[in-house]
């Protein structure tokens, strides 16, 4: 059945599916994990760094990209498709500044990206973009925002979300651990993002890339030393938890 309805994507299948869009979502599930968390005064994006070949320059492979001074995004899926979307979004951010004389709100640029993706699900001869994006930033009035888009062109606001491989595991971890105290300050929010990624990333801090935006400050990508420090703090906290449990059991 599927074979007859997945060629030209402008065709619905009899049970209401757009197969090309669903296949695009499968492509997203193969991409490396990305997690986004909205704190009180900070928004955090974390991605799983794919291991880089020995001769490859590490800095050319960046999965967290700046769209404007106050907005950035991480994606999961086909890197080449992401490049096109990011380019269009960057131009739109500047066009908005030119015409409206105000920076974009995070919701506006998310809506733009989502409309762009939807356009490609309803055109002849084109396939959908194979990426999901997590878009974070601060609005003009200082509110932090996190949005997620997917290949079908829908978008939603989230407090914390994950996309890509093992997104489900990470999301379940976040559902359990996203509390008022876990985002009480900037440091805690960053640690929550790292903890979430550590659930699914092998070999610890080396394979994590973290970026933060604080209110009225540009994007900052953490150096590996800073990530190591945070990972060490997390390990220490885990040990202290384990110790406490042991003592409780023995008493």
């Amino acid at each position: 059945m599927a074979a007859r309805y997945d060629r030209a994507i402008t065709v619905f299948s009899p049970d209401g599916h757009l197969f090309q869009v669903e296949y695009a979502q499968e492509a997203v599930k193969k991409g490396s994990t990305a997690v986004g968390i909205r704190g009180k005064d900070i928004v955090v994006l974390g991605v799983e760094k794919k291991s880089v070949a020995k001769l490859q320059e590490e800095r050319t492979v960046r999965k967290i990209c700046v769209l404007d001074e106050h907005v950035c995004m991480a994606f999961a899926g086909l890197t080449a498709d992401a490049r096109i979307v990011i380019n269009r979004a960057r131009v739109e951010c500047q066009s908005h500044r030119l015409t409206v004389e105000d920076p974009v709100t995070v919701e506006y640029i998310t809506r733009y990206i989502a409309t762009l993706k939807q356009r490609y699900t309803q055109s002849n001869g084109r396939r959908p973009f194979g990426i999901s994006a997590l878009i974070v930033g601060f609005d003009y009035d200082g509110t932090p925002r996190l949005y997620q888009t997917d290949p079908s062109g829908t978008y939603h606001a989230w407090k914390a979300n994950a996309i890509g491989r093992s997104a489900k595991t990470v999301r379940e971890f976040l559902e359990k651990n996203y509390t008022e105290e876990s985002i009480a300050n900037d440091n805690e929010t960053m640690k929550l993002a790292i903890k979430a990624l550590l659930e699914v990333v092998q070999s610890g801090g080396k394979n994590i890339e973290l970026a933060v935006i604080r209110r009225n400050q540009p994007l900052k990508i953490l150096e590996s030393k800073e990530i190591e420090t945070l990972v060490a703090e997390i390990e220490k906290e885990k040990e202290e938890e384990a110790e406490k449990k042991k003592q409780k059991k023995s008493s």
Binding site: V91, E101, D102, T105
Partner: protein
Amino acid sequence: MALLDVSGFKSHSGLGVFGTDASERWNRIDHFTFGSKCQEFALPVGSDPVGFLKSCSGENGVSIDLNHGTTTLAFKFRHGVIVAVDSRASAGRYIASKDVNKVIEINPYLLGTMSGSAADCQYWERLLAKECRLYKLRNKERISVSAASKLLCNMMLGYRGMGLSVGSMICGWDKKGPGLYYVDDNGTRLSGRMFSTGCGNGYAYGVVDSGYREDMTVEEAYELGLRGITHATHRDAYSGGVVNMYHMQEEGWIKVCQEDVSDLIHRYKKGMF
């Protein structure tokens, strides 16, 4: 949009058979669709509206004298913005109407004045009002004064050199405070504390410049606005009728009054008549 053109993007070309430019325009994802690439009216290549108008007005054949001439003024002061306009529409030497409304109420926080060609002003400012409403629906917040004036300015630039005649002041109150912009058919867009447009503007500037103080009370500001228009209508043949005055406050605009200039001029120049 200008930036898209400069950066060389071809939006939606390559599928020529399936979408003409006109129908694509409404589906565009960039909402600010005014620019030289997609204009409200398609014009044939080589048409010359200005030359055509020149040949029509004057002694050869039918004379088409556009409605022109007016006095409008607006100034910012401590308690907001005062907008005052006259209400005469003239077509050459004929007074076409004595009670034209030269202020378009775009929304409770935005006003636009009209001077120059009445038809042009009415059409383009109503189009601006439509875009402002669409902006509010799409973005769930009111458009800022600078964005609204930018939209009008881009519309004017799309038809630059083709004989439009629009001199407008966009006035409003948004989250940056009171805003006053002057936009005209050349594509000029200026932010300022005081503007006056129309052929009576010289007289209005004289009166308001000499009477203006930043710390005026509201009553004094109303008087100043009335005086400016009244004296301009007294000396300029193409301005007259009534003074329509609005006051833009933080909670929106209010229409202050509508006073006949002949009553006002008698009040101000008691000894002269």
